[in-house]
């Protein structure tokens, strides 16, 4: 106990990561009926957590080696588990991202969620999420990480299904939980295999393991792929993509925080966390690269057909996550982490802006919002455009830098197909982002004034009611916009920070990029290609949606089957549904249920029935006819005698 107070880093960590849990407990148990107090408690705790995280970020920068605190948690036979904190640059950075964005989102929610009947509950779950996520980030062992990873999933489930009266919301929550669970089981199995084969789940120990030669590459590949299953589930990689778009049923701040900026990035985070371990297995890296690429392209195509504001960002999140996975799998460790950081910023920004629109117009449809005069909301409109530019990789916004870094990493791969895929993805990203922006700016058929007036009235009406609340939403948005603008320029200092301590990481990174150090194309050309991919996308979007007299249909509408394919998410949902319905529900479940009732249970009942029938049958022996009974008696005695004689 004393150790906590002696060590400021530990103290800050413990305080920062535990407060949200306390706040959740307090809210759930005591202040459920006092929403104001609940939100204050939660926000206070997360602010403290954010401050602590920033302090730690600074401390870690100054430290020569990572901080590591451990205490025994449980042991069973020769399996020992510790509970601990492992603060290295990566986790400190991630902790900061989580804490800060969670903090901003919670402040934002003060406005967004005001008046909701589940206000207290909302903040309780937010706190739960913050606690779990922060603990996951700084977990010192893979198992501890997994534990909080699951809790994060739980929080996600709760928050997606926040509007539980809505069937689609509860359905989406369930879907999210079960689909990530599919990946998690793989992760879990990976951890178990690591426990059995390696015996130590400490993250630094794992990362140093490949160098020592205690474990074979085959084992690493197997374990790494299993762990990667978890990544696939949590980061919505192919084939477990579809839960994430559905997860947008939750309140928008939740989408901003969990389903774009932080939680879904946890998968990527885990990948980068044990990156050296992964990197020791080229096969695993190749598979991860392929999956990342497929995910990115699939999600981008899906984003091109939807009109739902949040859906677009959701698909974009998936595709960006795919991009990060690509980057990491290609050996671009820093690029991946950097994109994670910038993405957290601008994606949260995009969602929060969308949230303001949604809050204002009570719809998710970009066409309706545009028609009703969405562009008149200056703050969100400007900020969303900033975010979209960053997403499209237009300089000087943060996205540009990180995307360039990723393209650089892809460029280092021997096979140029990855680079072209990356570029194509960048092009699609820009296209669908600006498709959305232009929908908002230049709605089809112009703004319907009548509605607008009405909306203005109601808007004004609202202003009177909670003017402060509007600013509770606007300020975080503006902060994030600023961050988006600025963050890109911090690339080099961040790189220095992240790569400082990680000898293993550096080693692994070079090993993974391996043979083609010089790249397929030159550096300058790459920059131009990157920018132009984005710009081409924006221009195409302008031609189709922005310019006067544009058709506003998109080129895809000329290919209805393709449109349909994209709109139906490549029939992945249909496939899952079909699988669940035929294989599970009407297949195994109904067969087993029938088996249970008819054969197993029926067998038992049958035995009872036979027993009773046996009783009836035997009772005929006891006929009322005396002499038949006597006959049996005599016969048995006689036969017994014969038996003894013979």
């Amino acid at each position: 106990m004393d150790a906590i107070f002696k060590d400021p880093v530990l103290l800050a960590t413990v305080v920062g990561t535990s407060l949200p849990f306390l706040s959740m407990a307090v809210i759930l148990i005591f202040t459920r009926h006092n929403p104001m107090l609940s939100s204050r408690i939660s926000v206070t705790s997360i602010v403290v957590a954010a401050v602590c995280a920033l302090l730690n970020l600074a401390k870690v920068a100054g430290a020569s080696h990572p901080f590591r605190f451990e205490t025994a948690w449980m042991s069973s036979g020769n399996f020992h588990l510790t509970f601990g904190y492992y603060l290295d640059p990566l986790s400190a950075l991630m902790l900061t991202i989580v804490a800060v964005i969670a903090c901003l989102v919670q402040i934002y929610s003060l406005g967004y969620m005001s008046g909701d009947p589940g206000y207290s509950r909302y903040y309780a779950f937010q706190s739960l999420f913050a606690w779990a996520m922060m603990n996951m980030v700084i977990a010192s062992t893979l198992l501890q990480l997994f534990i909080f990873w699951e809790l994060v999933g739980l929080a996600s489930y709760m928050l997606i299904g926040f509007y539980y009266e809505k069937f689609s919301a509860s359905q989406a929550g369930k879907k999210a939980f079960v689909m990530t669970r599919v990946g998690d089981v793989g992760f879990f199995l990976g951890i178990i295999i690591l426990t059995l084969g390696f015996g130590n789940l400490g993250i630094p120990d794992l990362n140093n393991a490949p160098g020592t030669g205690t474990i074979t590459t085959g084992f690493i590949t197997m374990a790494a792929l299993l762990v990667f299953c978890g990544v696939v589930g949590k980061s919505a990689q192919f084939p477990l993509i579809t839960w994430l778009p559905d997860a947008m049923e939750g309140p928008t701040p939740v989408s901003a925080l969990l389903h774009s900026a932080t939680m879904v990035a946890a998968g990527v985070y885990v990948f980068s966390r044990i990156f050296p371990f992964f990197a020791a297995s080229p096969n695993a890296m190749l598979i991860a690269l392929a999956i990342g690429t497929v995910t990115m392209l699939l999600a981008s195509t899906m984003a091109m057909t939807t009109y739902d504001l949040k859906q677009v960002w959701a698909y974009s999140t998936v595709s960006q996550l795919g991009m990060m996975v690509m980057s990491l799998a290609a050996g671009g460790y820093f690029a991946g982490v950097f994109h994670l950081t910038t993405h957290a910023g601008f994606k949260a920004l995009l969602f929060l802006c969308s949230g303001i629109f949604i809050h204002e117009y009570h719809t998710n449809d970009m066409r309706v919002i545009g028609k009703q005069g969405g562009r008149k909301q200056l703050v969100p409109m400007i900020c969303i455009t900033v975010g979209a530019l960053a997403l499209s990789g237009v300089p000087p916004f943060s996205g540009f830098f990180s995307k360039e870094a990723i393209l650089g990493a892809l460029n280092a791969q021997a096979n140029p197909i990855w680079l072209f895929a990356g570029l194509f993805g960048a092009f699609l990203t820009a296209y669908y982002s600006f498709r959305l922006i232009f929908h908002l700016l230049f709605p089809k058929g112009g703004i319907e004034e009548k509605h607008a007036v009405h909306e203005m009235d109601s808007h004004g009406h609202k202003e009177e009611h909670h003017g402060g609340l509007f600013w509770a939403m606007a300020v975080p948005v503006m902060i994030l916009a600023c961050v988006t603008v600025v963050l890109g320029f911090a690339e080099h200092s961040l790189q220095g920070y992240i790569m400082a301590g990680g000898g293993a990481v550096k080693h692994a990174s070079t090993a993974a990029t391996g043979g083609a150090a010089h790249g397929v194309v030159g550096h300058e050309l790459l920059v131009i290609l990157g920018i132009s991919a984005g710009l081409v996308g924006i221009i195409l979007a302008w031609f189709e949606y922005g310019r006067k007299g544009a058709s506003r249909n998109g080129f895809l509408s000329y290919f209805p089957p393709v449109w349909k394919l994209f709109d139906a998410r490549w029939y992945m949902d249909a496939f899952f549904r079909w699988f669940l319905d035929t294989a599970i529900y009407s297949g195994l479940t109904s067969i087993f249920t029938r088996n249970d009732r008819r054969i197993i249970d029926g067998g038992i009942d049958g035995i009872c029935f036979f027993t009773e029938t046996g009783g009836r049958l035997f009772s005929f022996m006891q006929s009322g006819m005396l002499q038949y009974n006597l006959l049996i008696m005599v016969l048995v005695a006689g036969l017994a005698m014969l038996f003894f004689i013979v």
Partner: protein, 102 residues
């Protein structure tokens, strides 16, 4: 001829024929008669063993006497029970007495 086995076979025959009677006579008194035959079979056994095997030839006789006494008592009881049944059922046909079953 005058060997133990002859007597034993005769007693076995008496016993078995008594059994036949018990098993197929419908008249209760007929059954009682058959039972008496069975008892006589057993009695004959005792007497035969008594004559051919045992060290004290008195014992078998005493047993036979006792059995006779018991048989008389048994007949009395049996007949009275049959009579009682006849008063209630107006029949001494055992095949009509099968209300209790199952």
């Amino acid at each position: 001829m005058n060997s133990l086995n002859t007597y034993l076979i005769i007693s076995a025959f008496l016993f078995s024929i008594g059994l036949v009677g018990v098993l197929q006579r419908r008249n209760l008194i007929g059954m009682l008669i058959s039972v008496e035959l069975m008892l006589n079979g057993a009695n004959l056994n005792f007497m035969a063993f008594n004559r051919f095997l045992t060290p004290e030839p008195v014992v078998g006789q005493i047993i036979a006497l006792a059995i006779m006494g018991l048989a008389a008592a048994e007949a009395a009881i049996g007949l009275s029970i049959i009579l009682a049944l006849y008063r209630k059922m107006h029949s001494i046909n055992i095949e009509q007495a099968q209300r209790l079953k199952g």
